[in-house]
């Protein structure tokens, strides 16, 4: 009997310690950071619409209330697409026969507003709205020359996701998110015109 009481006492102390740590994490660690691998696809324009995982996402925020955070974000992504040989009409009187690899390199960055629906839970679903600017380098690589156009535009990215904390300490978590991204960037390369960029994708990474 004495032994059972001792075990219960130890469990109670440990539980108390975990609870205290969890609570203190909420009080003293109002900041969060995400580092993610990014898988992205450009949709609505076939210039370089091959989905690729050549990107990363970084964001950090500060919880101004237990559920609402503000922060900053930046990410990068490259989409490539081999076009093959074709004849392009550059103007009514000029033509170019060439092979091409189309590429769109995007760097959106700016500020974010994040709302988590629950707190103090292993699973923290959330929704984020990111607003900022987007740098794009749109290029066509041919056998001989690179043609490219660099542009800046306005960028908006709604995102939903969940942060999963395997341990109750909530020091490290797994981050999963899906997003849609629109940028106003307009590009012209050879005979191609891009008027705004739409992206869909997901993030998979770590939160701490």
């Amino acid at each position: 009997m004495k032994s059972k009481l001792s075990i219960l006492a130890i469990v109670a102390v440990l539980a108390s310690a975990i609870y205290t740590n969890t609570a203190s994490a909420q009080i003293y660690r109002p900041m969060y950071f995400n580092i993610d691998w990014q898988f992205n696809a450009i949709v609505g324009d076939d210039y370089a619409d091959t989905p690729t995982g050549w990107g990363m996402n970084f964001e950090g925020g500060y919880y101004v209330t237990p559920k609402l955070a503000i922060g900053l974000y930046a990410s990068f992504h490259t989409a490539d697409k081999h076009i093959g040989e074709q004849l392009l009409e550059l103007s009514p009187s000029s033509h170019l026969f060439t092979d091409q690899i189309h590429s769109v390199f995007q760097i959106p960055f700016g500020a974010l507003l994040k709302y988590r629906f629950v707190e103090d839970s292993m699973f923290e679903p959330y929704a984020t709205l990111k607003l900022g600017t987007m740098y794009t380098s749109t290029s066509s690589t041919t056998q001989v020359l690179d043609f490219y156009d660099e542009q800046w535009g306005f960028n908006v990215q709604p995102e939903v996701g969940v942060t999963i904390y395997p341990s109750a300490h909530k020091r490290f978590g797994i981050h999963i998110a899906a997003y849609y991204n629109y940028a106003t960037n307009q590009s012209q390369v050879l005979s191609y015109n891009i008027n705004g960029i739409n992206n869909v994708g997901f993030h998979l990474g770590f939160s701490f």
């Binding site: 990363m56 490539d80 093959g84 004849l87 009514p92 092979d99 390199f105 056998q143 001989v144």
Partner: protein, 210 residues
């Protein structure tokens, strides 16, 4: 965050150029006000100018050089197939065809002043100069292209339409084949294929065009 974005620019994944075809890149441009069916004859010099910025004077692939012969024959066969008759005297020709192999130069033909390089470097020593001394080429269309290395340039001149008052030699067609050198050797088979492609994408060059 902005600096982070700048740093990210180094993270761009470079395209895999191994995917690209080994064929030439073929660019053509023409005077779309020109009626190519009004011409009957053409003249082409029996040689190929070779331009190399590392050499002070241009050199030539003569008609005895198989490299020149093959590319010239390709152009001649295309012109004849489109109904034009080859003549041996430029004074009797409606059209003139000139070719140059640009081996190594960083000169640039620009929109604003499209003929300065040709005037200073190319034309005064070329075949037409004895017939039109001091004249300058005239492009009725903007020629904007970077001549870097290994380009075969073919141009058609409307000799019939030369303006004696302005002393201008009117160019009506430009073709640039890029990437024709392999391992520092002029790749003739690619050049010939490129010439065929240049004419294929220029159906308006036709004596019988409507």
């Amino acid at each position: 965050m902005f600096l982070l974005a700048v740093v990210f620019s180094a993270c761009q994944k470079m395209p895999d150029i191994e995917q690209l075809s080994s064929d030439l890149m073929v660019y053509t441009h023409y005077d779309n006000t020109c009626d190519f069916s009004q011409y009957k004859t053409f003249y082409i010099p029996e040689g190929l100018v070779k331009l190399d910025s590392k050499q002070p004077e241009p050199t030539y692939y003569t008609k005895d050089d198989p490299r020149a012969r093959q590319v010239l024959e390709a152009v001649v066969s295309e012109m004849k197939a489109r109904g034009y008759v080859q003549v041996s005297n430029p004074d009797d020709a409606d059209l003139g065809v000139v070719m140059a192999y640009v081996k190594n130069t960083n000169e640039y033909i620009g929109y604003v002043d499209p003929y300065w390089w040709w005037y200073d470097y190319y034309w005064p020593i070329d075949y037409w100069d004895p017939y039109y001394p001091g004249w300058i080429p005239y492009y009725p269309y903007p020629v904007s292209y970077s001549y870097t290395v290994n380009n075969l340039v073919t141009e058609i001149i409307a000799l019939k339409d030369i303006d004696n008052g302005k002393k201008q030699i009117p160019f009506v067609w430009t073709s640039i084949l890029s990437g024709i050198e392999t391992s520092n050797q002029l790749n003739i088979s690619k050049a010939v294929s490129g010439i065929y492609q240049a004419f294929e994408q220029s159906p308006y060059i036709n004596r019988n065009a409507q």
